[in-house]
Symmetry: C2
């Protein structure tokens, strides 16, 4: 939460933090402290235990005043950017503007720069600041801002629930369509055409648009053997067929910049015994984890629970690699159990074998075990949940139909 920033700065003995970038697009740290999107980004300055300052372009200042929780908003023009740019060039002007802010605000201690910037520019920028005598240091992950972002406050949870509700409605609309596909001359039809992944994806897009959501990373809708590859988005020309595993993984973003991530696996018609066993295994693994997760347990412990269930049913898991029993995994559960969701689709915390830290109240994570049989198909079931005092709270309630008949 935003109010953890001072405490995290204190722990690291940081006098001031600066979060900067030319756009909030794709920059969760800057979006987080600004409180929304600014086309031209900005510069956020905060001295420990003091109110922050946000500097934006004159064009973005009105938007910043509307959306930001930062009270003190000033413009680059007021800080002399155009003058500095004529003297030092556009890029180095920001460097001198920053040293001007540090000087005026009386900062002489350790500072850290954040914001998602190209590392080639960033390294140059930091080296130049150090040459000018500024005490810049790095901040390993989880950084001050990562730590604050990891636990969500009530306003953020409400935004996440809002994306969740809308995502749930998109899934339901698609399930309705899949459940009512008609068979004609030996294949399934959608509208008057053959039902293909491409046609379903067009429907997903229009439903997302109707909900005011976008999917900057696309949507996974993969059938049959393609569903055995967890990152295969599905081939548009593939026909929708009965009796084949369909993995539908949807991860849209709302205009609030918050994301949601949900996966369901379906079979149109009747599932085979093999498919049912696969589904039940993953379902049991997810349920076991959802029952287990609460503040204080670690991501690693949850991951082990998932592997226990999946291995008990006779499938391989990535644990074999971590335990040095295998060099690579040809089938089974080959990814992490989950990841944080917020202003990025993948953020902290991670639920995996390296996740020793206890989970905390207010974290939002996916719980998404999967089992994949190459050349055949896969099953993944994923929900996005918030960690509450007593366990977990679903950010979206979505049905768990498997056979669509």
């Amino acid at each position: 939460m935003l109010d953890q920033i001072d405490q995290e700065m204190e722990k690291r003995n940081i006098q001031a933090i600066i979060i900067l970038g030319d756009t909030t697009l794709g920059d969760p740290n800057l979006t987080y402290v600004v409180g929304g999107s600014l086309a031209g980004g900005g510069l956020y300055f905060k001295r420990i235990r003091q109110e922050p300052l946000l500097v934006t372009s004159i064009l973005d200042a009105p938007t910043a005043q509307k959306l930001s929780t930062v009270k003190r908003i000033e413009t680059f023009t007021e800080w002399g950017l155009e003058r500095l740019a004529q003297q030092y060039g556009r890029y180095e002007a920001k460097l001198h503007l920053l040293t001007e802010i540090l000087r005026k605000e009386g900062v002489d201690g350790k500072i850290v720069l954040y914001g998602r910037n190209d590392l080639g520019h960033g390294t140059y920028f930091v080296d130049m600041l150090r040459n000018l005598g500024v005490n810049v240091t790095g901040d390993n992950s989880p950084s001050v801002v990562d730590t604050a972002r990891e636990t969500k406050d009530q306003k953020e949870l409400e935004k996440l629930r809002d994306v969740g509700r809308r995502t749930g409605r998109v899934i339901e609309a698609i399930v309705d369509v899949l459940s009512s596909l008609k068979r004609k001359r030996g294949h399934l039809v959608l509208g008057k055409k053959r039902a293909t992944i491409g046609a379903v994806k067009a429907l997903i897009s229009s439903n997302l648009a109707a909900e005011g959501l976008i999917a900057p990373e696309g949507t996974i809708f993969a059938i049959g053997a393609s569903s055995a590859d967890p990152h295969n988005a599905g081939a548009p020309s593939d026909a929708i067929k009965e009796g084949k595993l369909i993995v539908f993984d949807i991860f849209p973003q709302a205009e609030s910049s918050y994301w949601c991530d949900i996966t369901r696996t379906y079979i149109i018609g009747k599932a085979s015994k093999k498919d049912k066993q696969l589904y039940e295994t993953v379902h049991e693994a997810q349920k076991t984890c959802l029952d287990f997760i609460r503040p204080g347990v670690s991501g690693e412990e949850a991951m082990r629970k998932a592997c226990d269930v999946i291995e008990r049913h006779g499938y391989h898991t990535i644990r074999e690699i971590y335990e040095g029993k295998a060099e690579k995994l040809d089938s089974g559960f080959n990814h992490i159990l989950g990841h944080g969701v917020g202003l990025m689709i993948h953020e902290l915390p991670i639920l995996g074998f390296l996740s020793k830290d206890p989970l905390r109240l207010g974290q939002v994570v996916t719980v998404e075990p999967g089992v994949y049989l190459p050349g055949y198909g896969g099953v993944r079931i994923e929900d996005t949940i918030a960690i509450t005092p007593r366990g977990v709270n679903y950010l979206a309630r979505v049905g768990r139909e498997f056979e669509l008949t």
Copy 2:
């Protein structure tokens, strides 16, 4: 263009470049060298004058093999990431993996790290590498990768034209709707409801979805006084009215990750003399610039041409600030003339007062003069064009209607 990388490395005496990140989302440099999107990002390594290496997760490797022009693709698992992660933790494992690559590939000279990463983490990462004896240096803007990305090859131009064509169709669909709004009980109606910005934006969203486009930064559709603020996206509840300036600025992205940026200004019904003069001024400024721009002229020269026209018609321009004649601008042309468009909506080159470098063949830029009268309204006309040997080539051909009657 991608094949400029060696030459730019040579100029800077760089032995190897590394472009890395946990996602290609919002990371144009990584997307550029990978040749598309990878959910978990990757690590691109290139020694000067040698074929590059791309390292991805086992999950992303199949996608990388399909979409990437990089021939040598290996996985983090093959490079021992899980083993290193158990020894050093998840984050520092990448550091040791990188030093392993540098060692095996015989790199002992200057290297630069690129990729859009948080600067807090990035500074830590670079400092650690330096502590391990790696000669890491920064690369100021325009960096090796910036320079390559600045000029587009034929494949990129085709992708940009494709986004352009689709964006053009969305604009035309909206113009058709605006042109045929009916008047009922004193206000304009859309469908059976009062025509509002919100209703038009819903139409824009569904048209974008139908074209397979997304608008991660939203769409500007602002009417009346709101249109005088270039970054005001428009209030959903505002009614669409006759005789008011409407600025429609649309900047969508396709699944290719390339963007397009077009603005048109409309009035429903008849324009006043004041509005016509405003529109003609901006139109003349844009035409003058489009006729002027060709390889060899600078962004600054083009910017001056725009200001010449706008000032001749009696409006203020940002030149007054650059020339020290004004501290701030209350009305007029208060932004740059244009910016590059490619894998980012705002990228190099910039067309503004600080742009001394000659424009080059293959650059893609917006040309978007605007004049804004606070409390009243604004006009902006913007096209995205490629710089060709003889001048400019429109990436989208969109009508220039002003009065929609």
